[in-house]
């Protein structure tokens, strides 16, 4: 099991998704995995670079990859958009030598060079494959028994198609949630998109997408929605207000990062996991957990 990774936080984890950053660092440290932040990383561009010039997009992602290569470690991205950009930049550069030569010509200005030796992983893959559910389960101190969680993958973790994952119904998120004692609910829309940047460029469409996701979470009787991408978390949580106004609904579904939930199960205090920074308080769901937790060995509902 690899113990050390180069860590690419991404712009939103600096402030907007600070709790994702805090909980990621805390949980990995607790599980003996060291995330070494990339030195002087730059923004991955989410999707907008490719609207202007794809070579620009490759250069900006390649710069981060080249910095990671200097550390000799695989790079881990908590945000799905950064992960997708870096993964496919590495893939394209490896496949097209002319492109790689041109991008490396640009990287020379920052004395960097991309060879393609770096592996690119999403943070959840570290928990699902490197650490693995068994190891995770063994480290659980306060299992989240009885907490019904909707595992929300979003679109960029398994799409576009890489080689191994099942694109329509992966299960690794559910395995993680079961490992920490929670009950992953059957969440039919777990692969549907949260709207991403459409929240700005086409708000009505994005709000309706968020509404469907929330409606489905409520219908699946989920106490909380776990996500692995800061963009999804913002769309689902920060705009719940506007969804309620737009569609006359009264959703108040807590949207948490999967690392926060793992942190709770590992017994890390809520403060350190950035719990309390949410718009929709997670506390009621967690309170119920406290009483449930108090009651000895409650049978976990499957």
């Amino acid at each position: 099991m690899k113990k050390e990774f180069a860590y690419f936080p991404g712009c939103s984890l600096e402030k907007m998704a600070i709790s994702y950053h805090m909980s990621a660092i805390e949980t990995t440290k607790k599980l003996g995995v060291h995330l070494k932040e990339l030195e002087d990383w730059n923004c991955c561009g989410a999707t907008t670079y490719s609207y202007i010039d794809e070579l620009l997009a490759y250069t900006l992602s390649a710069r981060n990859l080249a910095i990671a290569e200097q550390t000799g470690l695989d790079v881990v991205a908590p945000c799905s958009a950064c992960y997708k950009n870096m993964y496919f930049t590495a893939a394209h550069l490896k496949k097209d030598p002319d492109l790689a030569e041109h991008i490396n010509f640009a990287l020379e200005e920052d004395n960097l060079h991309f060879t393609g030796s770096v592996g690119v992983k999403h943070l959840i893959e570290v928990f699902a494959y490197d650490i693995g559910p068994e190891e995770l389960k063994s480290k659980v101190v306060k299992p989240l028994t009885g907490l019904r969680i909707a595992p929300y993958y979003g679109c960029q973790i398994v799409r576009p198609q890489k080689d191994h994952e099942d694109v329509e119904l992966p299960q690794f998120f559910e395995e993680i949630l079961s490992a920490i004692g929670a009950t992953p609910v059957n969440y039919p829309l777990k692969m549907r998109c949260c709207g991403g940047s459409l929240i700005i460029s086409s708000r009505p469409a994005a709000l309706s997408m968020v509404r469907n996701l929330l409606q489905c979470a409520v219908d699946s009787q989920a106490d909380v929605v776990a996500t692995a991408c800061p963009m999804c978390q913002v769309n689902l949580e920060v705009y719940q207000q506007q969804v309620n106004q737009e569609f006359g609904t009264n959703f108040s579904v807590p949207i948490m990062y999967f690392t926060q939930l793992i942190g709770l199960a590992l017994g890390i205090p809520q403060k350190k996991l950035g719990i309390g920074k949410e718009f929709v308080a997670a506390t009621p769901a967690l309170l119920r957990l406290e009483q449930a937790g108090a009651a000895p060995d409650q049978e976990t509902k499957e």
């Binding site: 730059n42 010039d53 086409s202 009505p204």
Partner: protein, 187 residues
């Protein structure tokens, strides 16, 4: 060489990744439009856009909001029975529309993405508040209020980025970009 090329070939030239012309093989089955979460909000569904490209309807395609409403979630690309990368097509149409400066009135997408890239080229990191002016004015009063309310809540929760961050080796960064896009102002 033929006198000129069709709009379909122009789009194929943009889709560098695939050899030949991928759009030829579209059987108009509708899987992409059936899957697309944003299709109901689009002037034309992704399938219709492919049909229009194949028939050279350049003006109507560029005037449509379809490719600006694409959330790039890749669900269509993964399900297409003819292995066409429809998401790449939407990216290519965005590039084409920006280079030509030709797109539908009142779309926030183009101005927002131009502002976003301009910001990154200057600081290397994104700083949301600087992007607000690019879309806030096209909002109605109600949305404006909601947006401000959201921003204040973020502030209270300590989640609103206040100071724009930038990368250390900014000059190298700018010269690096200058080697890709040879424009001034990147000294």
């Amino acid at each position: 060489m033929s006198e000129t090329i069709s709009f379909r070939q122009e789009v194929a030239n943009l889709l560098y990744a695939s050899e030949g012309e991928p759009l030829n093989t579209c059987i108009q089955c509708g899987t992409c439009s059936g899957t697309c979460p944003v299709a109901p909000y689009m002037d034309y569904t992704p399938r219709q856009i492919i049909a229009m490209i194949n028939q050279g309807m350049k003006e109507q395609v560029l005037e449509s909001n379809t490719f600006w409403y694409c959330a790039s979630c890749y669900h269509c690309t993964v399900r297409c029975p003819q292995d066409i990368n429809i998401t790449d097509l939407m990216y290519a149409l965005k590039r084409y529309s920006i280079w030509k400066g030709q797109h539908k009135e009142g779309l926030i997408g183009p101005t927002f993405s131009e502002a976003f890239v301009k910001m990154i080229v200057r600081t290397g990191r994104s700083f949301e508040p600087v992007l607000a002016p690019s879309y806030i004015f096209s909002f109605g009063m109600r949305e404006l209020l909601l947006e401000v309310q959201g921003a204040t809540e973020l502030l209270l929760k300590g989640r609103l980025p206040l100071l724009p961050s930038r990368i250390k080796r900014l000059d190298n960064f700018k010269r690096m970009l200058g080697r890709i896009i040879p424009m001034g102002g990147l000294e």
